[in-house]
Amino acid sequence: MIKFNSERLARLGYRGLTATQYNQLNRELYQATEEIVGLKLASRLDEAELDEFEGFYRSDDDDGAFDWLRKAVPDYAEVVQGVVAELEALLEQTARETRAPFQRDLHADLAQPSPPAESGD
């Protein structure tokens, strides 16, 4: 079961975001997953299948369309998992690259010798 939540993002390196920022990023991840999964599944259908799939929507039968799709693309769950894995890898790499300069600055600050304490005389 895929969960789009802040814990998952934190695991990918997105720490220190506000709740609003987590929610926005989660929403974007969900939307990207939905669109890319859809594109991948549609690319697996030939023209006759596309007509058939569209036919369900012509008669407002959304449930029938999903049942038909599960049969037409039996490995749809793997497609979803594959897209999720690709996007997670992309996000993880992006987080690493984005955080690198901040990490360098932090190390530089830590390496800086602290100023001598003023004498009380």
Binding site: A32, S43, S59, L87, L90
Partner: protein
């Protein structure tokens, strides 16, 4: 005019703006009389001292206001009231714009006073004011001397000694004249008998700013007169005009003086000539009061007159013409003000123009109706034409009767220098959620018009001064209301419209995650003021309802909004039944075909050309589209439609398809637009309409099928896995630079991945 004069003589009530100024004005006159009386009772020694210390204090009462605001009427009403009271000595109203070369305010005053004093005689025929007349003669002599030029002295004297004597006499004459005037005023104003009351000499002066004479001399004369205790000039003028005239005159005298210095001098002279205590300003008539304007001696307000005109126009032309309602607008709407003129004079003229229709005993003759409408066009265009630097006749030109019609005239309008558009304060919302169809609507905040100067027209950026005021914009639309809305004119030339580009600007539509041309939710075109206000109001109601509606309900509600353009009182409500909304529109289409006027024509055009743009396969199923298109085709075959052939752009849908496909074909192949396939969603309706673009659409159709199937498949597969709110992970209490950058980078990476996936899909 005769009736108005009679009303003034009788003392009938004035319009409220003027009536409310009368009381304080009379109170000031009484105060001045009381002050004179108090001064007259002072110890003679104190009075002598007062005279020696006398400054240049003026007691001129100034009635100020814009041109046409009713200044002259108020001056005449005040004068008439003072004459009826018979307490003060009131000379006839002086009009400096009618002065001859040799006239001046003082000489005219003296001549008028002379006439007044000579009228009253005893039984033997001797004047009752012999002493006053003698004093008046002294003043007149002094005045004549003061006006003698040095050139005339040189001609009139033989020896240097005579010249010197005369020169001294002449140069002193001005001072002496003031003293003589005081004696005369004192004689006339202060009673011989202690039982009698003090009276003033009232000198009404109308529009000194319009005189051909030097304004500085006029003001100087006014100051001389008004500094004499007992003499009270009451004048009226437009401060704007007076300042302009004074400035020009001073600039001629002091060509090297800076503008700042001249402004300083002007302010000083105005303060001296017209003390604040004696100023009475007539405010422009507020927009909400204009429809209720009633001229003196009349009882019917302007709004009733306009309703009569509407009735007559509608009787002749079978149109809905809500002109009177638009011009009765009290509050500002969409930045537009009431288009009626803000000054009393023009409102009186408008009222009188409409009176011709109201007076007609039987049904109104079409010629009289046209004459009235033409005069209304002139009255309403005056202000805005000046703003656009044109003559009123340049904005609208009436031509000959239209061919084949005895009631329709050709009217050429030229508003090509004006750009008209809606403004919104809501930013364009970004749409990122994958969806087969997403709509975002923005509300109209303001309706704006811009005078396109050459410079800004090219750059497309307007300077603040290019924008027309709310009143000017409303006036242009009111002109169009007459031109287009009455059904009595055949219009040529360029007008202002609210049409498809404006609705496009106010909506964002994504189909299968693709950017579209945002032309799906359209309302009928609007040209006249009443149409524009109605359609803007309906759009905003639609925009408010939109977030709570399904896509189909939004389309249906848009149809209802379009239908409500023909029903001024209807409130827009959410509609979920698309077929029922279509049937309502179809019924109204049949009605509109039978009528005149731009509102009905716009509805016909909308039904035929704009409504089918909703029939996209992302929005309605193909079967329904075909059924709707069939019904639509049938409706267009009815007999009444044939008369409309030249008025409706029947190729609207076809042209739009062609343009979209051309634009798609010419797009840069690497651009995202080139990958857009949404246009093919019109395949069903194009097929039902027998479009020539069908073949071109068919090339895109399979791609569109795949794109839309992708959206549907994605939604079907992931539906229900909605992201949950930030949970156990400890969120930062406030944004940090690192967190903000991480979020932005993550969103950017995900969007790039989506674009890459779309691009990959096209290559396959």
């Amino acid at each position: 005019m005769h009736e108005r004069m009679g009303a003034l003589v009788r003392g009938d009530p004035l319009p409220s703006k003027l009536e409310e100024l009368q009381k304080p004005l009379f109170a000031v006159i009484e105060e001045l009389a009381d002050e004179l009386e108090a001064a007259s009772k002072c110890d003679p020694a104190e009075n002598t001292l007062r005279e020696r210390l006398k400054g240049d204090g003026s007691q001129t009462i100034a009635i100020m206001g814009q041109r046409g605001s009713g200044k002259t009427t108020l001056l005449a009403a005040v004068t008439a009231q003072l004459l009826r009271d018979e307490r003060h000595l009131v000379v006839p109203i002086m009009r400096p714009d009618q002065f001859s070369e040799t006239d001046s305010v003082i000489t005219t005053f003296l001549a008028q006073l002379w006439d007044l004093l000579c009228i009253e005689r005893d039984e033997s025929g001797a004047s009752l004011h012999a002493d006053a007349i003698k004093l008046l003669a002294d003043v007149s002599r002094g005045s004549a001397m003061a006006r003698t030029t040095t050139g005339a002295l040189e001609h009139g004297t033989e020896s240097p000694t005579d010249y010197a004597d005369d020169f001294v006499a002449v140069t002193r004459s001005g001072v002496r004249m003031a003293t003589q005037l005081e004696r005369l005023a004192s004689h006339l104003c202060l009673p011989d008998d202690e039982q009698d009351r003090v009276r003033l000499i009232i000198v009404p002066i109308d529009d000194p700013d319009l005189a051909r004479h030097d304004i500085i001399s006029i003001l100087t004369d006014l100051q001389v007169l008004s500094s004499v205790p007992g003499i009270v000039p009451v004048t009226c003028f437009s401060p704007e005009d007076l300042n302009g005239t004074w400035f020009d005159a001073r600039q001629r005298l002091l060509p090297k003086a800076s503008e700042k210095h001249l402004q300083f001098l002007l302010a000083r002279q105005m303060e001296k000539a017209f003390p604040y205590r004696f100023r009475f300003e007539i405010e422009p008539i507020a927009p909400s009061q204009r429809p209720d304007f009633v001229p003196i001696s009349e009882t019917k307000p302007l709004r009733e007159k306009m309703s009569v005109l509407r009735r007559e126009v509608e009787a002749v032309s079978n149109c809905h013409w809500r002109f009177d309602e638009a011009l009765a607008m009290g509050k500002r709407k969409f930045g537009l003000h009431n288009a009626l003129p803000d000054n009393a004079r023009t409102l009186v003229q408008l009222w009188e123009t409409l009176d011709a229709i109201d007076d007609a005993q039987s049904s109104v003759d079409i010629e009289l109706l046209h004459l009235t409408l033409r005069r209304m066009l002139s009255v309403l265009s005056e202000g805005v034409a000046a703003r656009l630097g044109q003559a009123a006749s340049g904005l609208m030109r009436l031509g000959s009767p239209a061919q084949g019609s005895d009631r329709v005239r050709i009217l050429e309008i030229d508003f090509s220098a004006v750009n008209f558009f809606p403004g919104t304060t809501e930013p364009e919302e970004e749409i990122s959620a994958p969806s087969l169809a997403t709509f975002r609507l923005r509300k109209i905040h303001e309706l704006k018009a811009v005078d396109r100067s050459e410079e800004s027209g090219i750059s497309g950026k307007y300077k603040p001064e290019d924008y027309l005021s709310g009143e000017e914009t409303a006036a242009l639309l009111a002109l169009q209301d007459i031109a287009f809305g009455t059904g009595l004119f055949e219009i040529t030339g360029t007008g202002l419209y609210m049409s498809n580009p404006d609705w496009r600007f106010l909506q964002t539509v994504r189909l299968a995650n693709q950017v579209t041309d945002d032309t799906f939710l359209l309302l009928p075109d609007a040209r006249g003021l009443s149409e524009v206000l109605r359609v803007a109001e309906l759009w905003n109601q639609l925009a408010i309802l939109a977030p709570g509606l399904s896509n189909e309900a939004l389309l249906a509600t848009t149809i209802d909004a379009a239908c409500l353009t023909l029903d001024p009182d209807g409130e827009l409500e959410a509609c979920t039944d698309y077929d029922a909304a279509f049937d309502r529109a179809a019924a109204l289409y049949a009605v509109a075909l039978e009528g005149d006027g731009s509102t009905k024509r716009a509805f016909v055009q909308w039904f035929e050309g704009d409504l089918p743009l909703q029939w996209h396969s992302a929005l309605l199923s193909g079967d329904r589209i075909q059924s709707l298109a069939y019904k639509h085709h049938e409706l267009r075959q009815q007999e009444a439609r044939q008369e409309y052939t030249h008025m409706v752009d029947s190729g609207h849908f076809e042209n739009r398809l062609r343009l979209l496909l051309d634009s798609h074909a010419s797009a840069d192949p690497s651009a995202e637009e080139a990958r857009n396939s949404w246009i093919a969603g019109y395949f069903e309706v194009a097929s039902a309409f027998g479009s020539e673009q069908l073949e071109r659409l068919s090339f895109l159709h399979s791609r569109w099928q795949r794109d839309s199937a992708g959206v549907r498949a994605g939604a079907a597969t992931l539906g229900g896995l909605h992201p949950s709110e930030a949970s156990r992970v400890h969120a930062a209490p406030y944004p940090t630079p690192e967190g903000t950058e991480l979020q932005a980078a993550g969103i950017d990476a995900l969007r790039r991945a989506r674009r890459a996936a779309r691009a990959e899909m096209q290559i396959r």
